[in-house]
Amino acid sequence: MNGAPLLSVEGLVKRFAGFVALSEIRLAVAPGERLGLIGPNGSGKTTLINCVSGLLRPEQGAILYDGRAITRMPAFERTRLGIARSFQIPRPFRSMSVLENLMVPLDYVAHRGQLRDTGAQDEAMALLAQMGLAEKAQAFAGSLTQVDLRKLELARALAARPKLLISDEAMAGLSGAEIEEVLALLWRLNETGITVIMIEHIMSAVMRFSQRVICLDAGKIIAEGTPTQMVENPEVRRAYLGA
């Protein structure tokens, strides 16, 4: 890896009561990189993401983003610095329309402190069009299908204009064509310079998309390498892929 990393995690430890969810996690993500995060259920992937995005505070270790320590920073400030995420189980703002869901990050991040939201509305509509949700802009988020909820989840993360996008199983439950659609979108985003961390169980997607893959098991990094190296790694096969 050349140059300073965009995100680096150093010796991260997270415990829930006695249970060690993450132990001594150490990783770095370069600007513009596409990183895949795999591992069995309960291996700590989402916990790691929650620590990075600020919803959980680690017991030990440090998180550096763009050269500054953000370990204790509240989640909303991290979003403003450019870390955006989607949730594994979609968490839409159910009482709002799809368009309004996007207006929240637009109001609070990109268009903060502006009185009129006409520019923000256009930006929200453009994002919805990009995600194929334009026709549902006025629909209530609570009435969307699973597929549309996942798209909304990503669209809302993008509305925060991230530099680092963390996609937590954005493709779970999607059909083959829809997976291709989301992958293509993430690729386009990456080409514009957005760093992407992808947590995914759909191996075909994560292996094709990622430049580098990290495999977690029981709160530890057990392997790291290119997708090809990972498929061949005996540790990964034992813990996750299945021999």
Binding site: G54, L55, A75, R91, S95, M96, Y108, V109, A157
Partner: protein
């Protein structure tokens, strides 16, 4: 100003002129005596809704803020001989501070835990007042109404108009919050707090703003009670009635729009006055209970929700 904004202010001006006309025309003081109580609940329900309706944090401690307001006014009268305007401002300030402090201590708690903490605040505050001799302690305190100024005909009429003004101010503040970026952030908090935080919404800060404004308005509504009742004791100043009604009225009216708590309070408050004046004050509790059950089961979005449903149906039927 937007068209909706212009409409609101024209409506507000009309309400105030009507109230002024009423004080000139109606001779029976009872109307204003009862109207004061109804309007006090308009302020309380509107204030409650800023935190409870918009942000989804159910405050069971409205009585703490009302009582704080009433006793702040008593202190202002006793220590400074301050006029009513100063009493209200001081009460709003104290109750706002109380809201901020309560928020700081409790807003990290979610759901039912927050609600329980607010009940505790009311109890702690009442206990404090009971043991404070300067404001009368548990036996209460007699407040002498100032000599009638002759303004607006009588002191009761003047108090009624003050409450009209506070109601309009409360509705205006709630509406301003609702349509601003703060309102959208609070709704995001209510729908999903973690998602809101991840969207860049400073959730704790917004909740603190809501709690402070809500508390300040409740305190302002409690301040005129000192001169309205002339005799104040802790049990009535911190009455559980405030906490229950301030929560029930927005639920009946609808929590999503500023007009919900206003409608709920006008309907509920008036009904309460009518029932306790014509039938009995005991029965009026029953009426509250039955209405609450009917609305929670039959119309969870309140009167405003019913209205919107009806309007949507009509619009749908009207188009080809």
């Amino acid at each position: 100003m937007t068209r909706a904004g212009a409409k609101f202010w024209v409506g507000a001006a009309a309400v105030m002129l009507l109230a002024l006309a009423a004080t000139a025309i109606l001779k029976n003081e009872y109307w204003f005596y009862a109207g004061f109580v109804v309007l006090q609940f308009v302020v309380l329900a509107t204030a409650w809704n800023i935190l409870g309706g918009y942000a989804g944090y159910v405050n069971f401690g409205t009585s703490a803020f009302v009582g704080a307001g009433t006793y702040a006014a008593i202190v202002a009268i006793k220590a400074l001989a301050a006029p009513l305007g100063v009493q209200i401002l001081l009460a709003a300030g104290i109750a706002g501070l109380l809201g901020f402090a309560t928020g700081l201590l409790t807003l990290r708690l979610r759901g039912i835990f927050f609600s329980i903490a607010t009940v505790a605040v009311a109890i702690v505050l009442e206990t404090f007042i009971v043991n404070w001799r300067f404001v009368g302690g548990s036996t209460g305190i007699q407040i002498l109404r100032p000599v009638d100024t002759g303004l607006f005909g009588s002191y009761t009429k003047m108090l009624f108009l003050v409450m009209v003004g506070l109601s309009v101010a409360a509705a205006a503040i709630a509406r301003t919050l609702e349509i601003s970026w703060i309102g959208r952030g609070l709704r995001a908090v209510r729908d999903n707090e973690e998602a809101a935080e991840s969207c860049g919404v400073p959730t704790l800060r917004l909740k603190l703003i809501a709690c402070t404004i809500s508390g300040a308005l409740m305190g302002a509504a409690g301040a005129p009670m000192a001169v309205y009742q002339s005799y104040i004791e802790p049990a009535s100043a911190f009455s559980l009635n405030y906490s229950i009604l301030a929560l029930a009225m927005p639920i009946v009216g609808g929590t999503a729009h500023w007009s919900g708590p206003v409608l709920g309070a006008l309907l509920f408050g008036t009904l309460q006055q009518v029932v306790s004046a014509t039938i009995s004050s005991e029965l009026n509790r029953l009426v509250i209970g039955v209405m609450l059950i009917v609305f929670v089961v039959g119309a969870p979005a309140g009167i405003v929700g019913l209205w919107r449903k009806w309007a949507a149906k009509r619009a749908g039927a009207g188009s080809p």
